[in-house]
């Protein structure tokens, strides 16, 4: 087979894998938007906060150590334990549930019925607040997150494709794990939404929160539940992205990668987030490979993803899987 064709296939596959990682971030946005109509600007920062908390718990880091030491003149930094990854993930989830409760109790309870733009502004405030608290709590150094995820080239794929085509494809083990995790996550979320009482209540609130209230569904509880689920998705995204670059402030910027995915897939559809992620991932990688790098000087991925999303918006404003907006006048 011609080399160029094989390379294109390799780029296509890597685009799919990158798309899964984008979709992981987009899922958190969809969950909250679908249930409450809030576009959560803080989703990227939640991923950062979750990953920092996971690292801190795993390594026995004392939260707010610098503050404590500065105020009390102490020298405490670590508790002296190292917890297993699974236990740390569970404990981090407890922190994220607590965060969800705090967000609902102290911010959104007072904003029920407000305009979407007000709710959006509140999430901007939340993002900056969480960034600052995260820094103060866990420090701003770059943390190496090791939860045992494999990284690097998958040798089996490399050898198999080399034997078959004379060219070994590069697929990152971390991307394969991310794809499996994303599939499990989506399946879990769908099962939760379809077959559990809380999941059905969540869907009822998403459809019509006033009708849901009238049949006894607690809006407060559902919002806490949704923010907790978004916190869990943020934790998964934080682990995957944190494994690539270390846990650092820039993790919060992964939200920028999710926006075109949401524009394309729709803000209210879980499958839309996945399909949107895959289209964006493949589209930007193929464009960079076939046109961007050879003819435009490269680094086209960021703007091309948004351009692709805009193109979809022109023909389908609600996104590929979004609910059609019908307003009676």
């Amino acid at each position: 087979m011609p080399e160029q064709f094989l390379w294109t296939i390799e780029v296509f596959l890597n685009g799919l894998m990158a798309g899964v990682l984008y979709a992981l971030v987009a899922l958190g946005f969809v969950l909250i938007y679908k249930a409450s109509g809030i576009f959560n600007f803080a989703q990227g920062v939640m991923a950062l906060f979750a990953a920092m908390t996971l690292y801190g718990i795993m390594n026995g880091q004392v939260p707010f150590a610098h503050l404590i030491n500065a105020v009390f003149g102490t020298e405490v930094h670590y508790f002296g334990w190292n917890l297993p990854a699974i236990l740390s993930i569970v404990l981090t989830m407890v922190v994220m549930i607590l965060l969800a409760w705090l967000v609902q109790r102290y911010i959104f309870r007072y904003l029920v019925g407000q305009e979407p733009i007000i709710l959006f502004m509140a999430t901007i405030g939340l993002a900056y607040f969480l960034e600052g608290v995260g820094d103060l709590m866990w420090g701003s150094d770059i943390k190496t997150l090791d939860v045992g995820l494999p990284q690097g080239i998958n040798l089996w794929i490399d050898e198999t494709t080399f034997n078959a085509f004379g060219y070994g494809f590069f697929i990152d083990n971390l991307d394969i794990v991310a794809s499996i995790v994303a599939a499990l996550l989506v399946a879990g979320l769908v099962i939760f939404a379809q077959y559990t009482k809380q999941g059905r209540a969540m869907r009822a609130v998403a459809d019509d929160h006033q009708a849901a209230l009238s049949v006894g569904v607690s809006l407060n509880f559902i919002w806490i539940l949704v923010w907790s689920l978004a916190g869990f998705v943020a934790l998964v995204a934080g682990i995957m992205w944190g494994a690539k670059s270390g846990v650092q402030f820039s993790l919060s910027l992964i939200a920028l990668k999710a926006l075109p995915v949401l524009m394309l897939g729709g803000f209210t559809s879980i499958p839309g987030a996945i399909v949107g992620g895959l289209i964006i991932g493949v589209g930007e990688k193929l464009f960079e490979f076939l046109i961007g790098a050879p003819y435009l000087g490269g680094a086209t991925e960021n703007w091309f993803a948004y351009m692709l999303a805009l193109l979809f918006l022109v023909f389908r404003p609600q996104g590929l899987f979004g609910e059609k907006i019908i307003e009676r006048v």
């Binding site: 890597n14 770059i142 190496t144 590069f170 490979f289």
Partner: protein
């Protein structure tokens, strides 16, 4: 009545107190934001050096130093605000710590007669002191970095790299694009094939670039990265099993934080350096005694000896030496920013000066003149030893190819001079 009494009390107190002279060094730090991990140790090193001089020597020439820290978050607008809010305090020299901030401050600081020291960043052609009277970028600039990387590759290949493939992976910004022209000129001179791979900010996703490297199989990769781009690049290089000893980064891609996330796989990665590595210098004993142990360190004291801390320390040491030179030239201890500029322009860093500062062989020897604000452009090479968890200096400070760099400096600065109607500084 209460207000009047208060005002009188303050006025009386001010009249009774002697006017305390001090040497003001603004520190435009970034302890928050996406680049804080590198900004904190630099700011700590900068502050700790002046604390040491105050505690041990009673200041510089008997005048205490005062570090005026202002948080920029690596944001250009905030950096300019910091400049405006601190310049009135008697600021002697600014280290903008960002190429964007440097560009904004060049005309302002020149008009205010305050020198700028952009060490290893900023406008490269500012090395021409005849045009940029108040900007200094010694001991080395981006173009020296590009030449130093090629020199190292030449050395690895017995002096012949004709026909070799060298790829530049760069941050797609004004900073990242700086070495391109120099590398193009060097590729003409040495006959290597140069390929350019841009990475968009912030650089968390670089799969396309590293797949291209895997396909094209360059012999060497040079990186001009920043922030998260560095960590991801080192990780991706490890993922495609690119030989780390053939991967070399500029000094902004050469700190411990850039390689630790990749773990053992980063072993062998190389980086250019403006200073020596580690803390095995006599000055560190004094730092421990007068600054850290006495609880006066700017940070937690856990960054001593890291690459960015050493860079901050070195920047402060060069500023202090320039103050000494200015005091010597003008015969006064409490110098002004204009005198500081003169001191910087007459700065001579010899082995004796470095040894006297407790930092023998810590940085290159160089001298500054009216025409040359960039020094001799000497650069060292370091290599990451993952098992020891530290960079090791593998090549001493060596000269770079000024026969290629100087014409580029002259050309760029001449264009700036004509554009802005600038009079020669050195007539």
């Amino acid at each position: 009545m209460k207000y009047k009494l208060g005002t009188m009390a303050v006025a009386g107190l001010m009249a009774a107190s002697p006017v305390m002279a001090d040497l003001v060094f603004p520190s435009l730090s970034y302890r928050t934001g996406p680049y804080a991990a590198g900004g904190i140790p630099f700011a700590d090193g900068y502050a700790d050096y002046f604390t040491l001089l105050n505690e041990r020597d009673g200041g510089i020439g008997g005048v205490p130093a005062r570090v005026l820290e202002c948080e920029t978050g690596y944001n250009t607008e905030k950096g300019v605000e910091c400049y405006e809010s601190t310049k009135g305090e008697g600021a002697l020299v600014y280290q903008p710590l960002s190429t964007g901030i440097t560009y904004q401050l060049i005309p302002k600081a020149t008009a205010d007669d305050i020198p700028i020291h952009s060490m290893g960043y900023g406008r490269t052609s500012a090395a021409n002191g005849d045009v940029f009277s108040h900007v200094f970028n010694y001991p080395a600039n981006y173009w020296n970095g590009a030449s130093a990387a090629i020199n190292h590759i030449l050395e690895q290949n017995g002096g012949d790299i004709s026909g070799k493939k060298i790829a530049l992976v760069y941050h797609n910004s004004a900073y990242g694009k700086e070495p391109i022209r120099t590398l193009e000129k060097l590729s003409e001179k040495h006959g290597f094939e140069l390929s350019l791979l841009a990475v968009d900010h912030p650089g968390q996703e670089q799969k396309s670039q590293w797949l291209q490297i895997r396909r094209e199989k360059p012999d060497n990769v040079i990186m001009y990265g920043w922030g998260v781009m560095n960590q991801v690049a080192v990780q991706e290089a490890a993922n495609i099993r690119f030989p780390m000893e053939n991967f070399i980064g500029i000094w902004w891609s050469g700190a411990e934080i850039d390689v630790t996330p990749a773990g053992d796989k980063a072993d062998g990665y190389k980086a250019l350096a403006l200073t020596a590595v580690g803390s095995d210098f006599p000055l560190y004993d004094d730092l421990q005694k007068y600054v850290v142990d006495s609880g006066k360190a700017a940070g937690a004291g856990d960054q001593l000896g890291t690459v960015p801390y050493n860079r901050g320390l070195y920047a402060a040491m060069l500023a202090a030496e320039a103050v000494k030179k200015a005091q010597e030239i003008h015969g006064v201890d409490d110098i002004t920013s204009g005198m500081m500029r003169d001191g910087m322009e007459a700065l001579e860093i010899t082995e004796e000066v470095m040894a006297a500062a407790g930092l023998p062989d810590f940085g290159p020897t160089f001298s500054v003149s009216c025409a040359n604000h960039g020094g001799e452009g000497m650069v060292a090479v370091t290599q990451w030893d993952a098992s020891a968890g530290q960079f090791v200096q593998i090549a001493d400070f060596a000269p770079t190819d000024m026969s290629v760099i100087q014409p580029l400096i002259d050309e760029d600065s001449a264009a700036f001079k004509a554009e802005n109607n600038i009079e020669s500084n050195c007539n």
